[in-house]
């Protein structure tokens, strides 16, 4: 009987080791395994996922799928039992769509910026440093999308170097979401995204749905051929019956 139990335990441990996205075991060095986004083409491009201990960035124009991709990554992390932090200086995060995508909201620390005050961005950067330095989070997202470039350039020049140095000693990944390139670490990923064509459920008219949104992704400065993937229907939208056209 004890040998049967031993075999069962060994099998369990073997299975856990073979799962790439399995949460880390106690005492396991988490820095070795990258964070998988769950999108096969993106993970292949990145060699398994976003690297830990590095500052990475996902940038592109509106509706390029930046938030959807990072949300997918956050969802996988929280569903695996780890913690994630989302620093949101412009208060743009929607918990309803995040929950619809499967994100475990109890494992997400969301810091919402105050609309208006000029110190919102420096405060958000300081809070990002606190989250990274705590060592509690596997993923920290700093959402810079929608913030004018001039406001980002007003930050001290060493801001991103300091964050990169902070995260190097932790098993977490820091991801910037922005409209354009801001910064990334020496080993971090730089994902440039561009919007593809949306996919609608049928001809224009009542009952039509936004079924998907194609997204083109390039990584690195010299990558010429983009990877194309599609984001699914508007997340969080409850099933809605078609209505008759308005009279």
């Amino acid at each position: 009987m004890p040998s049967a139990l031993k075999h069962t335990l060994e099998d369990l441990l073997r299975v856990r080791r073979l799962q790439a996205d399995a949460p880390p075991l106690r005492g396991q060095d988490r820095r070795l395994s990258p964070l998988s986004t769950g999108v096969a083409v993106v993970d292949d491009l990145l060699g398994g996922g976003l690297p830990r201990g590095q500052l990475s960035e996902v940038h592109g124009p509106p509706s390029a799928g930046r938030t959807g991709l990072v949300l997918a990554l956050t969802t996988r992390i929280t569903r695996a039992g780890a913690l994630a932090g989302w620093v949101d200086p412009r208060d743009r995060f929607d918990p309803g769509t995040a929950a619809g995508a499967g994100l475990d909201l109890a494992r997400l620390l969301w810091l919402r910026g105050r609309a208006g005050p000029p110190r919102a961005l420096p405060e958000a950067v300081a809070a990002t440093g606190t989250l990274v330095g705590s060592g509690l989070f596997d993923l920290v997202v700093l959402d810079l999308a929608g913030i004018p470039a001039v406001e980002i350039q007003r930050l001290p020049g060493a801001t991103w170097i300091r964050l990169q140095r902070m995260i190097e000693s932790t098993p977490a990944a820091l991801v910037l979401v922005g409209d354009a390139h801001v910064a990334h670490g020496p080993g971090g990923a730089c994902l440039a995204m561009a919007p593809g064509s949306p996919r609608w459920s049928g001809p224009p008219g009542p009952g039509r749905l936004l079924r998907g949104l194609a997204s083109e992704l390039r990584t690195g400065r010299h990558a010429l051929r983009p990877v194309v993937f599609e984001l699914g229907g508007a997340s969080g939208a409850p099933p809605r019956p078609p209505l008759a056209p308005r009279e």
Binding site: R26, P95, A145, S201, S235, R240
Partner: protein, 420 residues
């Protein structure tokens, strides 16, 4: 040799006799506020005879309480019962216990009323009467405990003394020679106070569930703060950080002259870690991080969002961030979902319609002709409270895909967010 100390009069404080007994010996067993049993083994070196020791005990007791009784005997029960039954000082030589106990009333044994009534019915009034009963058949008549009662009445007791532990006090006070102004010098002083305090907690297998800080200021006032972190801790570094972060937010108004720290103890957390589940965050570190983010959490801008049970779009509240144990869940399948980046509050929009369908949208920087669209989707609710009714459209403009809606109650258009 044991000593019994009893006060027939009122005591100035409930623990007065125990405190007095601890001045003679650390091994003291208290039965409420009175009587108190002392283990006098080894005190013969300090007093030449048991009587001299008893007189010293009685003299000290007279200063603390009225009508003290002291008894010294070779057995616990004899010392206890004689001290309750005889006034002044009684010193019993070995073998005199039974004779000394014999005239004392039976009520000193603190029997239950039913059994005492039975014994009185048999005509027994004193401990001597009980001791004189034949041992044979006593258990059958009075129960299995009866032989022990008979032995007690004869002054025979082989039970050990169980020392009453000293009340635990986890407080530390430090008077400063020179006033301290500012948090940086205070952090060193806090470390000096916290380290022995936390070491004492660890020695007793305790953690501090809360910490009260009192700062005596130069102007004579007292600055009081109390910390109640999410998890108990006995780590001095964590407590020092939490105290400094709290004092940063609520600084004292003058220089500090004295400080007192009081910890409320709680049993240490015992957690059985799982071999297969992911490592959970350290509660101490989580409490420290949340204290650092106090400015965000205090204003309701930081925490874990909790969705409300309603169909109203965007209905949620900010809850405290306290992730519980991982229950295990599967990674979502399928492609990633389109995310909505909302505007809070929704931006008022100008929407041009053709045959009831949006053809042009203008909402600040978001402006353009509608290239493609999906909708309308109508929803309404809360008619019994604050009613809402809206008509949603997903519109593709040249600059992106946005969600707009018409508030059907106010007849106004709004830009809700960007689909990204």
């Amino acid at each position: 040799m044991y000593g019994g100390l009893h006060s027939a009069g009122p005591l100035p404080t409930p623990g007065a006799l125990v405190d007095l007994a601890r001045e003679f010996t650390p091994r003291v067993e208290a039965f409420g506020s009175t009587p108190v049993l002392l283990d006098l083994q080894g005190l013969g070196r300090a007093w030449p005879s048991p009587r001299a020791l008893g007189e010293a005990l009685l003299e000290a007791a007279r200063l603390r309480c009225h009508e003290p009784h002291v008894a010294l005997a070779g057995s616990r029960v004899a010392a206890l019962l004689v001290s309750q039954g005889r006034e002044g000082l009684t010193v019993l030589a070995p073998g005199e216990e039974a004779a000394a106990l014999a005239p004392l009333p039976l009520s000193l044994l603190a029997l239950d009323p039913e059994r005492e009534e039975t014994l009185r019915g048999w005509g027994l009034r004193t401990l001597g009467d009980l001791a004189a009963l034949p041992a044979t058949g006593l258990a059958e008549r009075l129960g299995p405990d009866a032989p022990r009662l008979r032995r007690l009445a004869r002054g025979e007791d082989d039970a050990p003394l169980v020392a009453t532990p000293r009340p635990e006090s986890f407080a530390c006070t430090l008077e400063l020679e020179w006033p301290v102004d500012g948090l940086e010098p205070l952090s060193f002083i806090l470390a000096r106070v916290l380290e022995p305090l936390c070491a004492r907690l660890v020695e007793r297998g305790r953690r501090a569930v809360s910490l009260a800080l009192e700062l005596g200021l130069v102007d004579g006032s007292v600055h009081r703060r109390a910390l109640h972190p999410a998890a108990p801790s006995s780590d001095p570094r964590t407590w020092r950080t939490l105290l400094l972060l709290d004092l940063e937010i609520h600084p004292p108004r003058d220089a500090i002259q004295a400080l007192t720290l009081r910890a409320e103890p709680t049993p240490a957390r015992i957690v059985q870690f799982s071999l297969l589940d992911p490592a959970q965050p350290s509660p101490e570190r989580l409490a420290e991080t949340m204290a650092r983010l106090h400015e965000w959490t205090a204003s309701g801008r930081g925490g874990a969002p909790v969705l409300l049970d309603t169909h109203r779009p965007g209905a949620f509240v900010m809850g405290s961030f306290a992730p519980g144990p991982f229950a295990g869940s599967r990674a979502p399948q399928g492609p990633p979902r389109i995310a909505l980046r909302v505007f809070r509050p929704p931006r008022p929009a100008q929407v041009s319609l053709r045959e009831g369908v949006p053809v042009f949208v203008s909402a600040g920087a978001v402006r353009g002709a509608v290239l493609d669209l999906a909708g309308p989707w109508r929803a309404s609710g809360d008619w019994w409270d604050v009613a809402w009714s809206r008509e949603e459209w997903d519109v593709a403009l040249a600059g992106g895909i946005y969600r707009i809606f018409r508030d059907r109650l106010r007849e106004a258009w709004f830009l809700e967010g960007e689909l990204d």
